[in-house]
């Protein structure tokens, strides 16, 4: 479970995230939508310990991220918006490295990696260097790395950029299955189609502030649309 309480982040005089309070329960796939520069990635970076909040707090699985960072991070799987990893390492070595950082014993780590590499059909590139990979392949290995330590919370920033349609389908299934197994998925995306198809709840952020939160039906009611797509809701909430 994820709890954000009055979360605020300021960069000098600019307020990137302004007093956000949210709760995401186990079993949910939570969509976090908003225009460019609205504060999505900043929020996610505060949730994963990459930025320190100016005020407010983040709790992951009951652990305060500021007070118990190690315990909180142990149960987080993070997929960043840009899959920057070590160019000179092979996919296999990178996954092993991440496993070691999460303190997974060697034999178990290798067994899990073999299992994970079967998720995407073209993962023979695990033996190639990261520097030679396409963006999509890097993204796939980053997704596998986030799953390696079997987290209970997935925090995802733009998960499908660079992926082919077949891989997008696989990623959607991964998130659905993860939530169905009792996990929590917090996902920021610009793909309204993805959000509409897999998110059980959605929140909109604009200029750092939450603009609406709920299921698609609840959001439609909030903007007084009897019917319409998520795109219509998005435009109504964030448009001029």
């Amino acid at each position: 479970m994820i709890e954000l309480l009055n979360l605020t982040k300021k960069f000098g005089a600019t307020t990137a995230v302004d007093d956000i309070t949210l709760t995401v329960k186990a079993g949910e796939v939570f969509g976090f939508l908003g225009p460019n520069g609205s504060g999505k990635t900043t929020t996610i970076k505060m949730m994963t310990g990459l930025y320190r909040p100016t005020s407010g707090r983040v709790s992951i699985g009951g652990h305060d991220l500021a007070a118990e960072p190690e315990q909180a991070k142990t149960i987080i799987g993070y997929i960043p918006d840009e899959p920057f990893v070590y160019e000179q390492l092979t996919g296999w070595e990178f996954l092993n490295f991440v496993g070691a950082v999460f303190d997974i014993p060697k034999p178990e780590r290798e067994a899990r990696i073999e299992k994970l590499l079967k998720i995407f059909p073209t993962m023979e590139v695990a033996d190639g260097y990261f520097g030679d990979f396409s963006r999509g392949t890097k993204q796939k290995i980053t997704i596998l790395a986030a799953l390696l330590h079997e987290p209970s919370v997935l925090i995802v920033d733009e998960p499908i950029v660079g992926l082919d349609p077949g891989s997008v389908r696989i990623v959607k299934d991964i998130f659905r299955d993860f939530a169905a197994a009792g996990g929590t998925v917090f996902m920021s995306t610009h793909s309204l189609e993805i959000a509409e198809s897999i998110c059980t709840r959605i929140a909109f952020i604009d200029k750092g502030r939450l603009g609406g939160e709920g299921s698609l039906d609840e959001l439609r009611q909030a903007v007084k649309l009897s019917e319409g797509t998520l795109e219509d809701v998005f435009m109504a909430l964030t448009g001029p």
Binding site: G49, L50, W92, F97, A100, V101, F102, K106, D127, G128
Partner: protein, 548 residues
């Protein structure tokens, strides 16, 4: 267009400086450290050069010219190797190359721009080395100031020529071998470096030296000409001639030799530039067509060294280092440089009377050289190590890893590598200078302490002032903070040298009982610096990185 690109480079450097400078006080302190450090380096360099020049028989310029002759050859030969390595990086691996080739610019313009950029970077260290040397020559041989300035300026064409030849070597090598692999690059650097060492060994063999000295005596000349390294087609020949004329007090001859040197430089740069620019695009394309690693290669256990978290951190950095042809060849180049220096200095003892005393003095100087070498290594490889986590730092920051583990791992292997790399030239020096076992052991103790302190200074400097926006270690290490850390290491080196000199002196005088106090002083100083900086690094790693 070339000027526009270079101007953008300066602007970017200025913007980076402004970004690094978190406040006026920080900038002022860093600037002060750098200025004082450079002044100290210049002063120490001047003092050493002055001291060495005064050792020769009064008024005799022959041995001095002989020394300078070899020094210039050495600078030229090593600058070619260094130029080839830096060209491999800037012309084939730098992030901006893709962008440059996407612009409506011909390969010639891009080549010219990169060559000009490399030359600018190479010029300043040569001037820094040359200033104290020429200063000492001006004082000892009473050369006029304008001639002295001319001698400083005449060092520049030597490096420009070497840089152009190095760039050409990099391009031809890349074109011929379809992108230089790590093994091939290291192999080429080794062959070139060892080739220079062997050539020099042959050129300054004692028997040859005796023949040259005799020949000079017979001809009545005080200029001991060594045909192995004194050929008119080599720029070091004209530079030597300019210095010889300067020492003899003939400004017109200095100007003539300088003119010839400039003409030769224009010719060599022009000749290297034509095929260089012509083959650059093709070589760059080939370097990108290297066969990729194929499936089915053996998956080695990870980590191989040690186990658990620290083992994984060390293995990751080891793989990143060992798979970078640029990094490994740079390290190898540094090592060859010191080996050659130790070798040459040991041979020069033949030139001076009282070789026994000279050897003791040289041991102290060589300790300074080893610390300088360690400081350069630490600047290039240890200082950038945290910054190079760069955009991949999210992996560690979002994991349950405590950053102090990262510090401990980096500290452990940086220190171990620096100590080993420092101990090797120390042992080789001991062999060449026939040092007593006890003095060798003391020098190793000093070098070990220096390895620990220099690694700590570089690592802490990199932690206090990281630059995560850069992907090139060379760019990070040449930042303001990198420079300040290096100067701090050199200041420590000067202090350690000042403590080492009396030990060697007491050893020479046979008063070995008094050296324990100096050992305690050196260890105390080193330990104090280590503890203070380690605490500062741990404090910074306590959470400030979470703030963007």
């Amino acid at each position: 267009m070339i000027w526009l690109l270079l101007k953008n480079k300066f602007r970017a450097a200025r913007a980076l400086g402004a970004k690094l400078s978190t406040g006026r006080k920080v900038t002022a302190v860093l600037s002060l450290i750098i200025i004082l450090g450079f002044m100290l380096i210049l002063a120490v360099g001047f003092g050493l050069a002055f001291y060495l020049l005064r050792q020769g028989p009064a008024g005799a310029t022959g041995p001095v010219i002989y020394l300078l002759d070899h020094l210039f050859f050495l600078i030229f030969a090593l600058a070619v190797v260094s130029g080839a390595i830096s060209s491999l990086n800037s012309m084939f691996k730098a992030g901006e190359i893709d962008f440059l080739f996407s612009l409506p610019l011909g390969p010639r313009a891009i080549f010219d721009y990169l060559l000009a950029q490399n030359m600018l970077v190479t010029m300043w260290p040569v001037v820094i080395v040359g200033l104290p040397l020429v200063g000492a020559l001006v004082v000892v041989f009473k050369i006029s100031l304008p001639v002295g300035l001319g001698l400083v300026v005449s060092l520049l064409p030597l490096t420009l020529t070497a840089e152009a030849v190095g760039a050409l070597l990099a391009i031809v090598g890349t074109r011929v071998f379809r992108g230089l692999s790590r093994e091939l690059t290291v192999g080429l650097v080794a062959v070139l470096g060892i080739g220079v060492a062997l050539f020099l060994a042959d050129a300054i063999a004692p028997a040859r030296l005796e023949r040259l000295v005799d020949a000079a005596a017979v001809s009545g000349s005080d200029f001991i000409r060594n045909p192995r390294i004194d050929q008119p087609w080599m720029p070091n020949y004209w530079l030597s001639l300019a210095y010889k004329s300067g020492l003899a007090g003939h400004p017109a001859e200095v100007a003539a030799a300088f003119g010839a040197l400039v003409a030769l430089t224009v010719l060599v740069v022009g000749l290297a530039r034509y095929p260089g620019a012509r083959f650059y695009l093709d070589a760059w394309m080939r370097s990108r067509e290297k066969p990729r690693r194929e499936r089915g290669e053996t998956r080695r256990p990870f980590p191989r060294f040690g186990s658990g978290l620290r083992g994984a951190l060390i293995e990751r950095d080891y793989l990143a280092f060992s798979r970078s042809s640029n990094e490994i060849s740079q390290a190898f180049f540094f090592f060859i440089l010191v080996l050659i220096l130790v070798f040459v200095v040991s041979r020069y003892s033949k030139l001076f009377p009282g070789a026994g005393l000279w050897n003791y003095r040289a041991v102290v100087l060589l300790f300074g050289v080893i610390v300088y070498y360690l400081a350069m290594l630490a600047n290039r490889f240890v200082f950038p190590s945290l910054s190079l986590e760069g955009r991949s730092f999210w992996i560690l920051l979002s994991s349950p890893l405590r950053l102090r583990e990262l510090l401990i791992a980096k500290m452990a292997y940086s220190t171990a590598i620096l100590v080993v790399l420092g101990a090797m030239p120390a042992l080789i020096s001991a062999y060449f200078f026939q040092m007593a076992p006890l003095l060798t052991a003391i020098m190793l103790l000093w070098v070990t302490a220096a390895g620990v302190v220099v690694a700590t200074i570089a690592l802490t400097g990199g932690i206090l002032y990281p630059d995560f926006s850069r992907q090139s270690a060379a760019e990070v290490s040449s930042s303001l903070a990198g420079l300040a850390a290096t100067v701090a290491s050199l200041l420590y080196g000067a202090a350690a040298m000042a403590l080492f000199a009396p030990v060697v002196g007491l050893f020479y005088l046979g008063q070995q009982g008094s050296i324990l106090a100096m050992i305690a002083a050196d260890l105390g100083l080193s330990l104090a610096i280590f503890i203070c900086l380690r605490q500062a690094a741990l404090k910074k790693l306590g959470g400030a990185f979470l703030q963007p």
